[in-house]
């Protein structure tokens, strides 16, 4: 059930100003779509649709969508697809009204993403996020699939592949620069209504960072974990980016067993181990890893 707030509640004053309702999709940009696709398949995702005009594939698992974009020039002015390492380039958010959400964000100081839809394709409004990544607003996700407009189903494939080990979106880890936690907390709070959780709040196994919780329904809310560079390291990276996806599951050890059977390897060191609280997959393709987090939600 959605919150019982009026549809047109005064924007900006409500705890959920955009009617945020979870993640519609997460998009990777890569020059090696097949290699990334294989990695996603080990995590339980299946390719279900192909974009009509671009080299873009849609992967799905239960209610989770991942878009793999190998289309050159998708980020204007960038060389995103020339980079060998796949990168998370977009986070699409379910909102009550995409146009209202987009205009409100611009009014508050977001940078707009130029639209690049072809004829008869969907114009999904978006704004700039960290490190050139985009944040999109999608409002047609209940009785209508945005993918039915721009994507063609792959013949003979189940369009709704089952979930492996109860996985669902838990959130995203975002790497940020030094002393940038407050800035990004402001950004997500002001534009989307994210709440900063107390510093002692921890999910999963990795102890660092600041957690922001999206507003909205308890079943669909998700988290952003902001992680500054570790000052203990002499040379550290100041690059800001979405670093990895976190998947929630009720039973982390069972999920680890299931995923191991599909070829996924997990980090097992003195500092990071598989525990009932969480687990971290070993990085592949230079930068791609996933985190499992204990989460009671189905």
């Amino acid at each position: 059930m959605r919150e019982k707030t009026p549809e047109r509640e005064a924007i900006g004053e409500a705890p959920n100003p955009l009617g945020l309702d979870g993640i519609e999709y997460i998009e990777y940009s890569t020059s090696r779509p097949q290699a990334l696709g294989q990695v996603l398949e080990t995590m339980g995702f299946k390719p279900v649709s192909r974009h009509r005009s671009r080299e873009v594939l849609l992967y799905r698992q239960g209610g989770m969508n991942i878009v793999v974009n190998a289309h050159a020039g998708v980020v204007r002015g960038s060389t995103a697809t020339d980079e060998p390492a796949p990168a998370i380039r977009a986070l699409a958010l379910r909102v009550r009204d995409a146009r209202v959400a987009y205009e409100r964000a611009l009014e508050l100081g977001a940078w707009d993403v130029p639209m690049h839809a072809q004829v008869m394709e969907l114009n999904i409004p978006g704004i700039h996020g960290p490190g050139g990544a985009h944040l999109y607003f999608v409002d047609r996700y209940k009785d209508f699939s945005i993918y039915s407009v721009d994507f063609v189903p792959i013949p003979g494939v189940d369009p709704n592949p089952p979930v492996v080990a109860g996985l669902h979106y838990f959130g995203l880890v975002q790497y940020i620069g030094r002393d940038r936690t407050d800035d990004w907390t402001d950004f997500y709070g002001r534009l989307f209504g994210f709440l900063r959780l107390p510093d002692e709040t921890r999910f999963g196994i990795l102890p660092k960072g600041t957690l922001l919780q999206s507003p909205g329904d308890l079943r669909t809310h998700f988290y952003l974990q902001l992680i500054e560079p570790d000052p203990a390291t002499l040379v550290y990276d100041e690059e800001e980016k979405f670093q990895r996806i976190g998947f929630g599951t009720r039973d982390v050890p069972a999920a680890v067993v299931a995923l191991r059977q599909q070829g996924v390897e997990f980090v097992d060191t003195d500092h990071v181990k598989v525990t009932p609280q969480g687990a971290l997959t070993r990085g592949v393709l230079q930068s791609v890893s996933f985190e499992l987090v204990h989460d009671e939600r189905p």
Binding site: L108, G109, W111, H128, G177, D182, D183, W184, F187
Partner: protein
């Protein structure tokens, strides 16, 4: 080095960007406040200017200046948002973390402080993805905001993690701001302090302030407000301000002098502040000292 906390502004020097950077570097400074005019006026374009700054080895103190941003509406506001976005992009490209935004002088701007705070909040939000902080500074001839405490009140109202205050000694002295009020500032939210002096005591009208500010500022230690300037720096130090000081010296005469001559005058100002005022270290025996 003891003068590392101080830097020159490119606006104090004549000539091409590379020559300015070289003179500043050779005078012993480690940082430079960059002006958009220097950067966009580079004959080889913006990328070459960015490269020149990187090659200089100087750290960018900040980037100036966004004018008349807050308080506008409709098309004027949209226009200024576009200008601000370009300034933020240049600031980030130059590796500067602070964009200086001066209080509006526009008679088209509202004096409603809630609206001014809202616009500054928007500016700060625009700056976040680029890793830029906004230092809001009260021009002493600003239409609504012309005292530093007025700027601070609006900054507090806007309440953004990357919005802070820029202080300019010229404007503080010209407006006869009460330095005791510095105690009311949060030192973590002072993003930039610009220092300069001038050669007379009174600037009662906005016109006199503008003319003096734009043509006849001098380096710290060269004007008639040395005592106040020293007090300002000491107060800020006592308050816990550990950020940068840049010498915001617009001076038509300095535009006609060889760059090393001007940079040497700036260096003497920095040494005076570091050694005599802040007593960062014991002066070297026989080192040249300004008599005062």
């Amino acid at each position: 080095m003891k003068i590392d906390q101080f830097g020159m502004d490119t606006i104090s020097l004549a000539g091409p960007l590379e020559a300015k950077l070289r003179a500043i570097r050779e005078a012993g400074f480690a940082q430079v406040m960059l002006s958009a005019r220097d950067v966009v006026g580079h004959p080889q374009g913006l990328d070459a200017a960015v490269q020149a700054v990187r090659d200089s080895g100087l750290r960018g103190t900040g980037f100036q200046v966004l004018r008349d941003f807050e308080g506008l509406s409709g098309g004027l506001h949209a226009y200024k948002v576009d200008i601000a976005k370009s300034m933020i992009e240049m600031c980030a490209a130059l590796g500067c973390q602070v964009l200086l935004a001066c209080s509006s002088t526009s008679r088209h701007a509202t004096d409603d402080t809630a609206a001014l705070a809202r616009d500054l909040r928007k500016l700060a939000t625009l700056a976040i993805p680029h890793g830029v902080k906004v230092a809001y500074e009260a021009l002493s001839w600003g239409r609504t905001v012309n005292r530093f405490m007025q700027a601070w009140t609006i900054i507090e109202q806007a309440d953004c993690a990357n919005l802070g205050i820029g202080l300019d000694s010229f404007h503080l002295f010209a407006a006869k701001d009460d330095l005791d009020d510095l105690d009311l500032l949060d030192p973590q939210r002072i993003y930039l302090v610009q220092l300069s002096d001038f050669m007379w005591q009174e600037t009662p009208t906005f016109e006199e302030r503008m003319t003096t500010a734009r043509t006849f500022r001098v380096f710290p230690g060269e004007g008639v407000h040395s005592e106040q300037l020293a007090r300002l720096v000491i107060e800020l130090d006592r308050l816990g301000y550990g950020g940068d000081y840049s010498f915001e010296v617009f001076n038509d005469d300095y535009q006609q002098l060889p760059l090393p001559v001007v940079a040497e005058r700036a260096r003497r100002g920095a040494v005076w502040l570091a050694e005599d005022v802040l007593r960062r270290s014991e002066p070297l025996p026989g080192a040249m000292r300004l008599g005062r």
